[in-house]
Structure formats: C-alpha cells, structure tokens
C-alpha cells in the first residue's frame, strides 16, 4: 500500500486553508528552532561539565592549612603534615600543591622548543608538587618517568627558580612537538618564558589547567617543587567510600597536631566542580524544562488542530471510506497531512534554527551549531508531531463509512 498515495490532493487541499496551515507551520518551525538550539547548548554544556580533567574526581579532597603565629614554621609543618596524612589509614596519597584542576586559581607560562624568536609559544598551566603527585591525582604516565625525591625543590614564595626537570601533559607535548612526535619530548630541553631551559622528564596522559573555561585547558606543566608559604594546600586521595569520614577526621587531626595554624576550606573535588559549574547546571536544567514544555505545548497544538479538523471532516472521512478507503488509508491520510505540514514547518525550522544560532553566537559567544543538529532537530519535530497526531488519526479511522449517507 502506497503511504504517499494522496500527497498531491492533500497538499492542494491544505493550500485552501492557508491560515490554519501557516499557524501550525510557524509553531513547528519556531519550536524546532528553539529545541534544536536548546539541545545543542545543553549537550555542549553537558559534555563540557562531564569531560575528564585527568584526575580522580570522585575520591579526592583538599584543605588549606594557614599558620598564624610569629614562629610558625611552614616547611616543617608541611613535612610533618604530609608524613601524617600519607600514613593515615584510608589515604591513598597526598601532596602539597600550588593548584589543581577545577580550583579556578593558578598561573601559567609560555613554553617553547627553542629560544628562536619565531618558535611557537605554547601556554601551559603551572603545577608545583612533589613525586607523590602522580599517585595523588591518579595521573597516567604515558612516556618517560616520574620525578625522584631528589628532583624536588623547596622554593620560597618569591623564588622564580625553576627545577631542572618537568613533566608535561600529553596535549602540551603535542602542541610543542606535533601529533606524531609528542613522545619525543622526553629528554628534550624546552624553554620557559623564552629563556629558562628545562628538561622534560616524562609525559602524563591528561592534566587539566585550573580554569575550566580556559582555551588551553589541556595544557599543563608540572614542576617538582614545594612552595613554602604560611598557607599550604593539600590534596588528598582516599580509598573508595572513605572520602567523607576522612574529610572530617583528617582536618580534626591536623588541627590538633599543630595549634599554630587553622585548617580551612575543606572541600571535595566534586563539590568544587559543582560550585564551578553551578550556573551551567542551572542553565542546562532550565533549558531542558523549556524544551520539554515547548515540545509538549507544540504536541498539544498539533493534536488539537488535527482533532478540530478531523471533527469538522467526519463526513468527508465517511465519503472517502464509501469510495473505497480502508481504515488504514484514513489513518495514513491524516498522518501524511501532518507530515506535510511538518515538512514545511521543518524547512522553516531549519532557517529559524540557523538565524537563532547566529544571534546566540553573536550575542553570547556560543559555539556555532554543529551541522548534525539540523537532522536531529528535524527528526525530533517530526517525531513530536507524528506522535501527537496518532490519537486524532485513530479516531478518524473509526469513522463509519455510513457517515457518508447518514449525516445531514
């Protein structure tokens, strides 16, 4: 049975009722534009939030120890704190660090493969922690090797000294030496801030910069150093399910251990992430609600109009049945009529989607809509409107052929 049997006549009949046809077409077009852009933004934000930072986000927390007395000894405190934390049951490993992914604070340097004027400058976020960092952050070493204890420097806050060896994130090595040669970075000398030479000792698979919206978020460089400062930040990874209790007990233990400082800003990586993405999560939630409500309203509109038209055309349905249409052909008639309206609506929708996207891109610096969203949007709007019309169409199908002779 030919599904498209009545395309021509249905289309010509629709042009006789332009007003209501145009109304549905616009509703479908506008809905499609909003849903398509909304889905694109939602997906973009979702993948942004869900992307890997390279570290174990689930069982890691951090806290700050701030010394407040005259004779507070930062270096001795850090050494004894780390000894204590690392020896605590349930702790996998811990480091003192200047920064970490999702912390939203830190600094970055520009790296080069040579001191040539025209050698490319590769920005990379700077991390400073000792040889326990790889284990603490659950980083994967993909080339070269980790620092040794001897590599680690103690630096003053004001110290601009660089250690002799560093680790790079794979993306940084790739930016410096190319897609196929990133591994060759190991053993090479690179230059920081156009003058300081340092040797690459190893490469980790991934380690994000502290700033989630940074364009070069994949680029980072790790120096084996501990910066002595009255405030020290420790990052601690625990065994599965030990996070909550250790967050409490460790901060209490540390506070008791040394009364010349306070322990503050105790937070899990997960909490930090939620805070950093709070606005995004709110946006995405609102968008999803809008999408669902809009889809529902449009479905109701389509179903309502189809119902109205079918009630108005009960006798016409009877006539078609009398002239030989089977129940299925009546169902197909109304599904097809809806599909035709939807096709025109979707054509308008493609246009409106692009216009809305251009507006959003120019006003809110969003990324342009990936082209796959157009077929996805078309599919979605078709699915919504065909589903909406099933119920009225089934009612049309049940109109008796005797309607042709019985009414009027």
């Amino acid at each position: 049975m030919n599904v498209f049997l009545n395309v021509g006549p249905i289309f010509r009949a629709l042009t006789r009722h332009r007003f209501s046809a145009v109304l549905v077409v616009f509703q479908i077009g506008i809905t499609m534009a909003i849903i398509t852009n909304g889905l694109a933004i939602t997906w973009d934000r979702f993948t942004h939030i869900e992307r890997h930072t390279g570290i174990d986000e689930q069982y890691t927390f951090f806290l700050t120890s701030s010394g407040f007395t005259q004779d507070f000894n930062p270096r001795a405190t850090i050494e004894s704190d780390l000894r204590l934390i690392r020896a605590t049951d349930g702790v996998i490993d811990a480091v003192q660090t200047n920064s970490f992914p999702l912390s939203d604070s830190g600094n970055w340097y520009e790296l080069q493969t040579s001191t040539d004027k025209d050698a490319a400058l590769i920005p990379a976020a700077s991390y400073k922690f000792d040889e326990h960092g790889i284990n603490t952050f659950a980083l994967t070493l993909v080339a070269g090797e980790n620092f040794s204890e001897q590599d680690t420097l103690w630096l003053n806050e004001a110290d601009s000294k660089w250690p002799s060896h560093v680790l790079l994130s794979k993306a940084t090595a790739t930016a410096l030496y190319g897609e196929s040669d990133w591994q060759s970075a190991v053993g090479k000398t690179i230059y920081v801030n156009q003058n300081t030479p340092i040797v690459v000792k190893g490469i980790v698979e991934q380690l994000h910069a502290p700033w989630v919206e940074w364009q070069h978020v994949e680029n980072s460089i790790i120096s084996p150093a501990r910066v002595t400062h009255n405030s020290a930040r420790y990052v601690i990874r625990t065994k599965a399910n030990r996070l909550d209790d250790l967050m409490q007990s460790l901060s209490a233990t540390l506070a008791k251990e040394n009364t010349q400082r306070v322990i503050r800003k105790i937070k899990s990586i997960q909490q930090a992430k939620n805070e950093i993405y709070a606005a995004d999560i709110a946006t995405v939630s609102i968008l999803l609600v809008v999408i669902v409500v809009l889809a529902f309203v449009t479905a109701m509109g389509v179903a309502g109009l189809a119902s109205f038209n079918i009630n108005k055309r009960r006798q016409q349905i009877g006539i078609r049945r009398a002239l030989g249409a089977s129940e299925r052909q009546i169902l197909q008639h109304f599904m097809l009529e809806n599909a035709l309206l939807c096709a025109v609506g979707a054509a308008l929708g493609v246009l409106l989607t692009l216009v809305l996207n251009i507006f959003l891109v120019s006003q809110y610096a969003l990324t342009p809509l990936p082209i796959v969203y157009l077929p996805l949007g078309i599919f979605t709007i078709f699915a919504i409107s065909q589903l909406a019309v099933i119920k009225p169409a089934v009612r049309a199908m049940s109109v008796s052929p005797a309607m042709a002779t019985r009414s009027i």
Binding site: P9, A13, I319, A322, G324, A325, S326, R328, P401
Partner: protein, 236 residues
C-alpha cells in the same frame, strides 16, 4: 448479481432497539435499474448501506457478484466497494477542498491506478456528465445539478458494476432532477446495474423495476409499468 437472503439489521442505542431490516430478501440482476421507495424511516438507506458495504448486517446472507460478504475484513470490504460499487448521495458529498479533477480522482487513487490511467478516466467521466471543461472548479462554484453530475462522474470513473443512489434528486429542482435521471438511464443502458432510493413516485415509475420497503421488509416487488422488459435491456 446482488442477492440478499433474510437480512436483519438492528440498531441498538441506550434507549431503543430498532429493527431497521427484518428478513430482507432481494435479488438484483445484472443490468437492472431498480427503484426503492417507501416511507421515511422504513429502512431504505439502511438497505442501501448494507448493499454498498457501508454497514454490516446482523443476520442473513448477502452475496455480491458471487462473493459472500459475511466475514470479510475491513480491507476486503473497502476494496470491494472501491472496485464494484459507485455511490451517489442526496447531498452530493463532494469534498469541498478538492477541485473537480481531484474529487473524481479520490476513488481512483484508492484503486491504485497509475497517473495516466487516472487522468484518462477522470477526463472521460467528467466529459460524459458534460463538465469536461471545469476541471479546476471547486464544488462550491457549481449548481446543485452540476455537483450531482460530478458525483456521478466520480461514481462512474472506476467503471463499477453497481451504482447505488440514495435520493439522488432529493436536493434538486424538477428540471435538474430530470436531467440527472436521464443521465442515470443512459448509464443503465450501457450496462451498469443501478439501485436508486427515491421518494419520487414519478421517477420510480421510469425504472425497469420497483420495490417498496415497509418496516424493514420488501413488501411489494414487480416491474414498473412503464419500464421495458428485463430481457430487452441493452448490454455492453
């Protein structure tokens, strides 16, 4: 040939049961022009609806063109209607949103003819009823008589064996009724079996055979006085 044997049809509503047809028996031969008369509510339309497979029946047997109707699926019934039966209604029942061409096209599309076949049939049947030049007109732009002619063209386009007409002249003035009747006569002459329900005694008189329905039964059956003998009807 159309044969009904003791057909019963009951309409059940919340309040009443109406026996619209009771032991309704009738044979209509190939080429007949049968007029069905009877008072309002006697069951004429019900008979026509059952005969035209627009409605099912509750008891009895019905054979249309050698085919037992009982137990057919909706699709089979629809196909039989489409191929063998043409309908003409009192209120014309053209589809207002379609022009004449598309109106006549409706049953042909369900029949599965290709575009060229359909066009040929549409043009020749509209030609036959004298409206070959009005293809792009819409029903509302025509007089009642013209609309009924389009309906006849639509009924004939698929070359059905049977033409069922329910008060085809009921909404027309005398002049128009006459010309529609003449058209039906001509169609019958060329071999189509016609069953026509009518109030109009003078129209009924012009047919070959007449039955009167009363309380859902055939109560008087015989040749109309002015009609030619059955065996002298021309066949095509």
């Amino acid at each position: 040939m159309l044969a009904m044997n003791n057909i019963g049809k009951v309409f059940t509503t919340d309040v009443v049961q109406t026996h619209a047809l009771k032991d309704f028996s009738l044979k209509v031969n190939e080429g007949d022009f049968l007029a069905v008369t009877g008072t309002s509510g006697s069951g004429k339309t019900t008979f026509l609806n059952v005969a035209g497979l627009l409605e099912t029946f509750d008891s009895g047997e019905y054979t249309l063109d050698g085919q037992d109707i009982q137990g057919l699926t909706d699709r089979q019934r629809s196909q039989l209607r489409n191929e063998k039966i043409g309908f003409i209604f009192q209120s014309f029942n053209l589809i207002p949103d379609l022009n004449l061409f598309d109106n006549v096209d409706v049953p042909l599309r369900y029949r599965g003819f290709n575009a060229a076949q359909r066009k040929e049939r549409i043009l020749s049947s509209l030609e036959r009823v004298g409206l070959g030049k009005r293809l792009k007109h819409f029903p509302a732009q025509l007089s009642g008589g013209q609309q009924q002619r389009v309906a006849i063209a639509r009924a004939l386009a698929g070359s059905p064996r049977f033409l069922l007409a329910d008060e085809p002249t009921g909404n027309l003035d005398t002049e128009m009724a006459k010309s529609v009747m003449a058209l039906l006569q001509e169609i019958n002459q060329s071999g189509t079996t016609i069953i026509m329900v009518t109030h109009d005694e003078s129209l009924a008189q012009q047919t070959q055979r007449q039955i009167v329905v009363r309380d859902g039964r055939v109560c008087d059956s015989g040749a109309s006085s002015t009609s030619p003998q059955a065996d002298s009807v021309q066949r095509v």
